[in-house]
Subunit: 359 residues, 2 copies
């Protein structure tokens, strides 16, 4: 198959997906629209894609790939509204840097430059802002990026919740046009780089709404180096995503839909820490839907699954990496879970939002 | 003077300015920290520059100039928290696009790609979001930019005010390293591209807090084409800024400080519409401090003042352009206003925030 036929096939696939776009039924925004799940995707497709549609945006990757002169760039943005602002293992500052660094990294780009936009609530302690900013600086240094421009707005008391941060990031693309959810094929293997759900459960517990004591910290970390290690060892990587809002299950659904394939996951191969498992049971949620902030999901050509796994495990952030499933042709667009108890069930996008404001 | 001596001089000037950095005295964030005035600048210098300092950020231009491979890029960001969201002449959507387009344009870059990050309050009407998004698309088309990536977060009722938008923008630099506030010199002329304060007064009146009827609309507009016209005609342009939050007076102060020069402005040469003048008197504020969203302040070599004025006036957005002042050596760092009544007074940065949430 020539490259241009392949590209055409990807474009056709995107077009087929576009035609299936749903409508927003609600008259008002709900928390579920921010969950990363079904309502978020409907909002994105029915409102944002409908208006802004262009080939860069329509791919719906974590970062857009674009050209300036002869240079291929990746551009991404994320707003952070996590509550509480400080939690074991991190705060909104390093989260905001790592989140954008990771969106660039999983798009196959080397992260270079970040912007930082602050929306502060009147009355917010300056000492907390200084702490957050120091964490941002440390995270930027760890990821090898510079924060080169920014903006600060202040709103009246009761019009925000302390501090919201937006970061946008620019990186240089390592392998132009090669990576992307739409390139995933039947036969590919599905890997995760470590135990899932630590960040989401940590933030939930930090809110103090649950009477659980757990020795748990957020997994927030920059994955740029892990990704570079993986890509250097494994030419057959098709797509990567960081499993943030909506967790691993949401990523798997996004890819199944974008590539028009089935993703079949073995539940007992998914690494979940005992404390995350316990807390998830109490919260009544599946760890597969709980956000991580330093874990990636990797789709790789089946023949290179072991190579990819070894590459991930060779890195400190990927020591607990696991092969969790395979891509099949049918049923297209669905994620199937082979459960620990021997059954198989559809693992769909979440409808509500069990864990709001986790990032 | 060789180019490298000149560059060294600019760097020295930046270093001198850095050493004068103040400290944040307040323990908590106030609305004034978001005004664009004195408190904002203190916050930026004492908190953000202190942590993030790097040569790209330290210049404190509207956009950072940076290199990726051999390509010179401009990168900028702004969050928008305007209240009300809809006002005569525009809404938060086109404001968010034009604001970032303009920050790129006045930095001498051709705007290319935008990101869009939404923070929505639970309960926000979907129909309003669709209207805002449609305005963003129209504004992006008018400015020749694509919105290529985005993000949506939702916070609980009472944790935002309907809709906040962050945009970041990437452009390609037209004249690398040449433009910048620190390059302004004694003898330069100061121009504005049109009547000032229309946006700020329009938004104030749209809040309905004042019992004034005025047939006024926001000046929100993309200035990329106006800037291109100006730069093509006038090689001696030293620096441009769009006079948003804090108005023309704030820009003049920023430049006076960055270039270590005096800026002397003739009050009666500053174009102010009769309705803006009237409303400003009632509000007790000087139009020089009121935000515009489609006006630029231009610093140009004195000998090219008329050329620049003609170039601005040849463009629909610059028909009312005016030469409002001159740059002098002394007193360095200050803006002096020759008043209509024949006196001279210092036109300093504002201390409070008379017009919060204007953008």
């Amino acid at each position: 198959m020539t490259m241009s036929t392949r590209e055409q096939e990807v474009l056709d696939r995107i077009e087929r997906v576009r035609k299936r776009r749903p409508k927003v039924k609600e008259e008002r925004i709900t928390l579920a629209h921010g969950s990363g799940g079904k309502a978020t995707q409907t909002l994105i497709e029915a409102v944002f894609l409908d208006a802004f549609s262009n080939p860069m945006l329509d791919r719906l990757e974590d970062a857009a790939e674009l050209s300036v002169n002869e240079t291929r760039l990746a551009l991404t943005t994320d707003s952070f509204v996590v509550s509480p602002l400080f939690f074991p293992g991190g705060n909104i500052g390093d989260l905001a840097v790592n989140g954008t660094v990771n969106d660039l990294a999983v798009s196959g780009a080397k992260p270079l430059y970040l912007t930082a936009g602050f929306i502060l609530e009147e009355g917010f302690p300056v000492a907390d802002l200084i702490r957050i900013v120091a964490s941002m600086k440390a995270a930027a240094d760890a990821a090898g990026v510079s924060i080169v421009t920014g903006d600060t707005k202040v709103v009246q008391r009761g019009k925000a919740d302390g501090c919201y941060i937006n970061t946008a990031g620019v990186g240089v693309v390592r392998c132009p046009g090669r990576l992307g959810a739409a390139t995933v094929q039947p036969g590919d293997a599905v890997l995760v780089s470590g135990s899932i759900g630590d960040h989401g459960v940590t933030v939930m517990l930090a809110r103090g709404e649950l009477d659980i004591e757990a020795d748990l910290v957020s997994d927030t970390a920059p994955v740029h180096d892990l990704v570079a290690t993986l890509l250097a060892a494994t030419p057959g990587v098709r797509a990567m995503r960081d499993a943030t809002r909506g967790g691993v299950a949401t990523i798997l659904n996004e890819v199944a839909k974008a590539a028009d394939v089935a993703v079949v996951v073995d539940e007992d191969k998914v690494p979940v820490g005992t404390e995350v498992r316990g807390a998830s049971e109490l919260l009544g949620i599946d760890p597969l839907y709980v956000a991580c902030e330093g874990r990636i999901v990797v789709f790789v050509a089946g023949a290179e699954a072991e190579t990819a796994l070894d590459a991930l495990r060779s890195h400190p952030l990927g020591r607990e990496a696991a092969l969790i499933g395979r891509v099949k042709a049918d049923p297209p667009g669905l994620v199937l879970l082979n459960t620990t108890f021997g059954g198989t069930r559809i693992c769909d996008l979440l409808v509500g939002d069990p864990l709001p404001r986790i990032c």
